[in-house]
Symmetry: C2
């Protein structure tokens, strides 16, 4: 008997390991779904690459997941969402393709009271302005300040997510946001999926008056709604997620758990070639 479309896995794509924070939220909100995660670890980070290159890489990764029969795609990388979502939606139509920028912006707009929102993201996401545009689309009077917090990626990958160094780096990136008189944001959005492991140290630096949000939970809710609408919710319990990486399976298994929140068994990781 042919497999039902609803039983197909959900494809989750990221430049590397940061997207595992999104996968974690997806698994929580969609516990019966099966997931196929692709981390383009050979070519990470995307955050310092040009939008054209990121779009090309994202289309290659998406095609790989589509060939493996996923029922929808989650672009669990802010840089790729910002640079490649429209191209992926065109290329893979009628498949549902969900990014993380719009849901992250929605979470920030839901949280803010004074309309002043700080965005912490990679250099590429900040320069591209996707968050700034998404926030103003949802709340036209929003005042947005975006900061390229490049070092957070390295800190999260090194596992240095608390302690003096993480605090000093957070201070250096975040303090200027609160220096201007009268324009203090009340909401900070983590515009990079690498940043949630640093949420506590970021929240401490920002202070109790500031809400720190990320896109993972909202993205999961958005996807769940789309699957319900499309009649594509899987009913039966699913197998554990499977992981495709373009390089460094050993490193993925070693560092990935800091983002996913659980161990990743060696036999669940498969190395693939994306360069073709």
């Amino acid at each position: 008997m042919a497999r039902l479309p609803a039983d197909a896995p959900i494809g989750v794509f990221d430049s590397g390991m940061g997207g595992l924070t999104v996968l974690r939220a997806l698994q929580r909100v969609l516990p019966t779904e099966e997931f196929l995660y692709l981390g383009d670890t050979a070519r990470l980070p995307y955050g310092t690459k040009s939008p054209a290159t990121v779009e090309r890489y994202a289309l290659q990764a998406g095609a790989q997941l589509v060939r493996r029969g996923v029922k929808c795609l989650v672009v669990a990388c802010n840089t790729a969402s910002a640079a490649a979502l429209p191209a992926m939606q065109r290329e893979f139509a009628p498949l549902v393709v969900v990014g993380v920028v719009e849901p992250g912006a929605a979470a920030a707009v839901a949280a803010t009271r004074n309309g002043r929102i700080g965005v912490l993201a990679t250099e590429s996401t900040v320069r591209g302005g996707a968050y700034q545009r998404a926030l103003v689309r949802l709340r036209p009077d929003a005042q947005v300040v975006a900061v390229a917090a490049t070092l957070f990626v390295a800190l999260a990958e090194e596992g240095w997510v608390d302690g003096d160094i993480a605090a000093a780096v957070a201070h250096r990136y975040i303090a200027p946001l609160f220096a201007a008189d009268g324009l203090r944001p009340d909401t900070l959005v983590l515009g990079c999926t690498h940043f949630p492991p640093l949420a506590a140290v970021i929240a401490r630096e920002a202070g109790p008056a500031v809400t720190v949000v990320d896109s993972a939970a909202t993205t999961a809710t958005v996807l769940r709604q789309q699957l319900i609408t499309a009649g594509l919710v899987r009913a039966s319990p699913a197998a554990a997620a499977h992981f495709l990486v373009s390089d460094g399976a050993e490193r993925f298994r070693r560092i990935g758990p800091a983002f996913l929140g659980e161990a990743i068994a060696e036999e669940r990781i498969e190395t693939i070639d994306l360069s073709g």
Copy 2:
């Protein structure tokens, strides 16, 4: 009249911008030479990739430079030197191909008195053990401790090369080297071309009894000797270096000067495709 072989440029290859510290030393030691620098900025960093992938990328980059008529190749990246030098020397023979690991090891062995040498490098270089092997080959009784100082790359690219954060990161990586009783290194080798901008903060953390060496100057001396032997020294004054990057020309122009020590004019940077 055909161009003399000695007048051809020297090809310098790096994963991105770190190799500019080597280019700087080459220009100082070989002031009449012309240089063609290739930074594989689309696929950096190499330091967290597997050796097989780094070798494949390095061969593509070398082929690109050879097609453009360079007279020799400098692999100005420790990770690529460690993973790909033998393959590049085979592939591009009889062209001279010089790496930075052996010269870096030679500099350390020349500097050490007690034979205890610390190596600061990327994760991939440390795991591959190339420095450890090169040092022991040159001085069989050497005691080598290698540290993967991942965050130094991000700090150097962010330009945070002094101040509290750089000092704290240096302390975290370097202090353990001096904690063991009686085994204190007297020499630290910067086994990544990204690290020279951080040399001062590293030297401060290590203390006055420790010599900090890098491979740039020694590599330039080694290459000069090989060019003399091969009769390939260029006699007439050369034009300014030309730069090829696989992505992000604007970022290269903005961040590169921190490594090269001088501004890089826009028209000297050309974007190329290396993925083929």
